[in-house]
């Protein structure tokens, strides 16, 4: 009985945190200054948002066929989302979308 409660709490925590990260990524998509920066917002929803929500659902499903399917969806998203992001960024750069680059002197060099 108590084990069931702990399991549920874990699952709800994941779902709540995942929802928060998903909305944060959405806000980033609207708020960040240029296209390349917005991609980082999309990255948040794709990794933490999707990951935690699917993990939370997985806690509800337990070790079963449904849980395995959820895991496979997560693995698939983790493989495809960087591929899509890279293709998108590459296409934008090739099309001449200029990245906004800050003058703030960090240690990383600007080419």
């Amino acid at each position: 009985m108590t084990l069931q409660l702990v399991w549920d709490l874990l699952s709800w925590g994941c779902l709540l945190l995942g929802s928060a990260f998903a909305i944060t990524g959405g806000i980033g998509l609207l708020r960040l200054p240029d296209f390349y920066a917005r991609m980082h917002g999309g990255g948040i929803t794709d990794t933490m948002g999707a990951g935690l929500i699917l993990l939370g659902l997985g806690f509800q499903a337990g070790v079963s066929l449904v849980g395995a399917k959820l895991l496979l969806i997560l693995v698939f998203l983790l493989i495809t989302s960087p591929t899509t992001a890279h293709a998108l960024a590459k296409a934008a750069l090739a099309d001449g979308v200029e990245p906004f680059v800050s003058d703030d002197p960090g240690k990383a060099g600007v080419p």
Binding site: A20, A50, I73
Partner: protein
């Protein structure tokens, strides 16, 4: 209850992405938003599957994830070369 709240959160994210798709300004912003809408739809379908206790919705979620990936890549390729593949396309530069 928890599933309903998650669903609302995913819907809010969808609305934010939709706003970015409408605002643009470049076509790539719109594709980025489109991609995010696709990923959120996968989550939405999965959550609805649990909300209505119909786990077979997960099959649809995976199908949507596949279609979203291929769709975005196809749109990007169309933007780049102006047509959908064929033997005359240049060897890939990767």
């Amino acid at each position: 209850m928890m599933f309903a709240m998650t669903m609302v959160a995913v819907l809010v994210t969808l609305a934010l992405a939709l706003a970015r798709a409408a605002l643009g300004p470049t076509v790539f912003d719109r594709i980025l938003a489109l991609n995010m809408i696709g990923t959120k739809t996968v989550l939405l379908i999965a959550v609805i599957g649990f909300l209505t206790e119909r786990p077979d919705f997960l099959d649809l979620a995976l199908l949507y994830a596949l279609m979203n990936f291929i769709g975005v890549i196809a749109v990007l390729r169309f933007l780049k070369v102006g047509h959908f593949g064929g033997a005359e396309v240049e060897p890939s530069g990767e």
